[in-house]
């Protein structure tokens, strides 16, 4: 009795694909591993981009655009970096096609002398520019950002969460020393945390990744982690302190105040269209997506109950006037986005389209509403009463006056609901590895909800950390991060029994 054919409880991964498809967010493309982003998905991304861009600029970063293609030799300079990405790089080798024996093929006479890589990330080509632009300490900090498409040839892809091509924002900065670069690393992390929470209604935990989960070439990697409705973690953004690794590889040096030469310290940080996957798995329900009002491309959708009769003209005029009035109101710092759906389709079909997309307020206006000067609407956050769709009626003036408040309440409710789930699903009573094993089990098909575990550890490194990773892998677990907020004292390490030095989050993940 729901708008989707599969529920979250029945099959969470199938439900996810159903929302992506039915909410007009995206669909698979004929290019392996890439997707076509459709208007509702693109509209959400445009809102994410607009607001995040504002916050990034406000904190002193300028937008640039660097080339899509990076010469292969640039990657060879930083060993860890290339090792991390070499296995998933799309390589351009020719610059022309030719008819050969009646078939269109890469022209052998147009082979590039040096292959070009479609950027998986841009540290190498931006580092090269830094080495030219940075001369003296006066040029630092240099803080830039770019919005771009990038490509990683993933073997198993899933729409928004892991696609070969994805859209993202990548910040790259250079600083005089570690302290300044670390301030920037934490500033970016905080931008992501507050943006995810305030704007996407995604509660997250910010913290540092363990050594074996660092970005290839980073000294320290931080992440924000969100909890999906199946209890799995989603890494929704990362911020890296790169030390002087890239500066050494690419000769990013500056003249300091005393006239000496010093290496710059660099950072990088990014979030991507993956965030939309996080929004779906956090706020979706069995009727589709519930789009947080702040990022909903259309916040109030008006469906006129047209009947193909002369009275339709009055109804259309009433709806148009209502939308115009709503558009004059303001919410989340912008004008309310109201829209009259005039598509040539049955009103009931249109209603369900907007329910699945998760437009926050859906008005269904019939001739009687128009005559009585009232608005009948559904609140997507409280769609049903039992099985039945619950609709509300207000006078037109009341509705216009209350719309912004309803949208704000919806946004707050979505956040509160997810926050309660997150906080209620982190166990801190698992203190031995046997506890972990009992809780998570090793059953491949165990679909039961399992949240996260907050445990103490002694922060092993190198081979000892690899051994920890192997033990967790059996339970299909990974270390997500060590939250920034740490307790005053620690118990014993869940892996070794040695005195612990840190609290970490463990979870299954996307």
């Amino acid at each position: 009795m729901h708008a989707l054919k599969v529920t979250r409880a029945e099959d969470f991964p199938e439900w996810y694909q159903a929302v992506v498809r039915e909410a007009d967010l995206a669909e698979p493309s004929p290019t392996r591993g890439s997707m076509i982003i459709k208007p509702w998905g693109m509209g959400i991304w445009e809102r994410i981009q607009g607001e995040l861009d504002r916050r990034i600029k406000e904190t002193g970063h300028d937008n640039y655009y660097f080339p899509l293609l990076i010469p292969l030799s640039f990657f060879a300079k930083e060993a860890e970096h290339v090792e991390g990405f070499a296995k998933e790089m799309a390589v351009v080798t020719h610059h022309r096609l030719k008819q050969i024996d009646g078939e269109l093929k890469p022209d052998p006479d147009a082979e590039l002398t040096e292959p070009l890589i479609i950027r998986p990330t841009s540290e190498t080509i931006i580092g090269d520019a830094f080495s030219r632009w940075i001369v003296s300490y006066r040029d630092l900090p240099l803080k830039l950002n770019q919005w771009a498409n990038v490509m990683r040839w993933e073997m198993r892809t899933r729409m928004f969460l892991r696609t070969a091509e994805f859209l993202w924002q990548e910040g790259h900065t250079a600083h005089v020393d570690e302290a300044d670069a670390m301030d920037e690393t934490m500033l970016a992390l905080e931008i992501y945390r507050s943006f995810a929470e305030d704007f996407l209604a995604l509660p997250v935990i910010a913290g540092e990744k363990p050594e074996n989960e660092r970005f290839p070439g980073a000294v320290r990697t931080y992440s924000i982690e969100a909890m999906m409705q199946d209890g799995k973690a989603l890494q929704a953004g990362t911020s890296h302190y790169l030390g002087t690794h890239f500066a050494e590889a690419q000769n990013i040096r500056y003249q300091d105040r005393d006239g000496g030469k010093a290496l710059a310290h660099t950072t990088s940080w990014g979030v991507s269209t993956r965030m939309i996957g996080g929004v779906i798995m956090t706020h979706g329900d069995d009727d589709g997506l519930r789009t947080p009002p702040a990022i909903a491309p259309r916040q109030v959708v008006i469906v006129p109950m047209l009947r193909g009769k002369p009275e339709d003209a009055d109804l259309k005029a009433y709806c148009a006037a209502l939308a115009a009035e709503l558009n004059k109101e303001s919410v989340f710092g912008s004008a309310v986005r109201a829209f009259v759906d005039m598509k040539d389709a049955k009103p009931a079909d249109k209603r369900w389209d907007w329910v699945r997309r998760g437009a926050p307020l859906i008005c269904e206006i019939g001739p009687r509403d128009a005559a009585n000067g009232q608005v009948t609407f559904i609140n997507r956050n409280a769609l049903r009463e039992g099985e039945k769709i619950k609709s509300h009626t207000l006078t037109r003036d009341e509705f216009v006056a209350q719309a912004a408040g309803l949208l704000e309440t919806n946004q707050a409710e979505l956040f509160a609901e997810a926050k309660t789930r997150l906080e209620g699903a982190i166990r801190s009573d698992l203190v031995t590895f046997a506890d972990l094993e009992r809780y998570y089990g090793t059953d491949e098909n165990d679909a039961e909800f399992k949240g996260w575990a907050r445990v103490h550890w002694s922060r092993p490194t190198g081979a000892a950390l690899d051994a920890v990773g192997d033990r967790l892998k059996v339970l299909k677990l990974t270390i997500r991060n060590a939250p920034l907020a740490q307790p005053a004292s620690f118990g014993v390490c869940i892996f070794t029994g040695a005195p612990a030095v840190e609290e970490i989050l463990i979870a299954r993940s996307y």
Copy 2:
């Protein structure tokens, strides 16, 4: 005595490169044929994107995002299309790198079974989606747009004007019949014309391209053409009626009202970062760019004359308050963009940076201005009086009150100046081919200003048109378009002496 080392009169192409470099617009990248777009250039592109996106959405188009990579076989379907683009395609053939004999190379075991092409344009992959999405006449018109990077492996590149990778917008639509598709083709052309004129202050002439200049696969191609200060034409946007060519190649059929099957008629249209090249060559002067206020990332730049003394604090506060007041004013439908340049550099250097970038109003505020409550400023449109920089002084209140008006006047002046140049430099008195030869000459190094010619022709096709093209080529001329506004009657064809049927524009071009 100018801010640039080379003037337009001395060497126009060199002057162009100097503006691109000195105005912080872009620089060459280590990836052949691609550029790095820098903050001032990117800020201009963001304004272009924001406003054009608004106009495209307002006329009923939704944004989508399609894959960067297109399977090679997709191009083979439309013969003219592939012939037009095959020679300049970047081809991805491998998806992994591997160390082989100590060298990083494309892994032979990771060769793609079908090569992928970096999109030079997206008709083929969008047409494929149309064939799946369009079922009945109720699905039409389908009107979409995408903002994307595309790649054409150009042999000779020039920043903004012709780069291997460029940023653009591409509209793609499908319609029930030719009439509806032609309405769309002309709507897109009109969006471009009005956008170029109102927002970029670029006067243009809209018209139809001759047969030999059509987009590969199009039935009719229209363009807007702008005149640069060296008299050359720049094609600044194109709109194509594609007939049923792509619908046939990709099976885009719909069920019509009578239950029969019909081919859809499609269109496509695009503008790119090339527009920025047009802005530079239209509005630049020997001191750099004059950025039209509507697209200037910063419209009022405030340079405090700091001296590293305690009084600096008051001065900074005065400048910050001035910027805050200006930001509350509104112009061109948005808040005024005022900015205090606090960079650690000499005030005079900062002033010249902003002159070269072409910030419309540049305030230089010293302690005396702050004490007297006044604003001393330069208007970039009227930078000099003779050789001297001309500065103005107003009370702070006057300046705040007049700022929006000054910006509007500057925008209008830039347009009027370019419009006068365009109209004064189109000759309509060249009626024989010998006249054309005399005016344009064949001297390779002829740098003298030559405008355009408006001539009559009999609209030859096929081989006869090729012959016309060859004759024009000797004079380094091409046919730009047949303007939409045509005279009531025609003389004789300048090429054949036969009765003419159309008036066309002939020019040298970028």
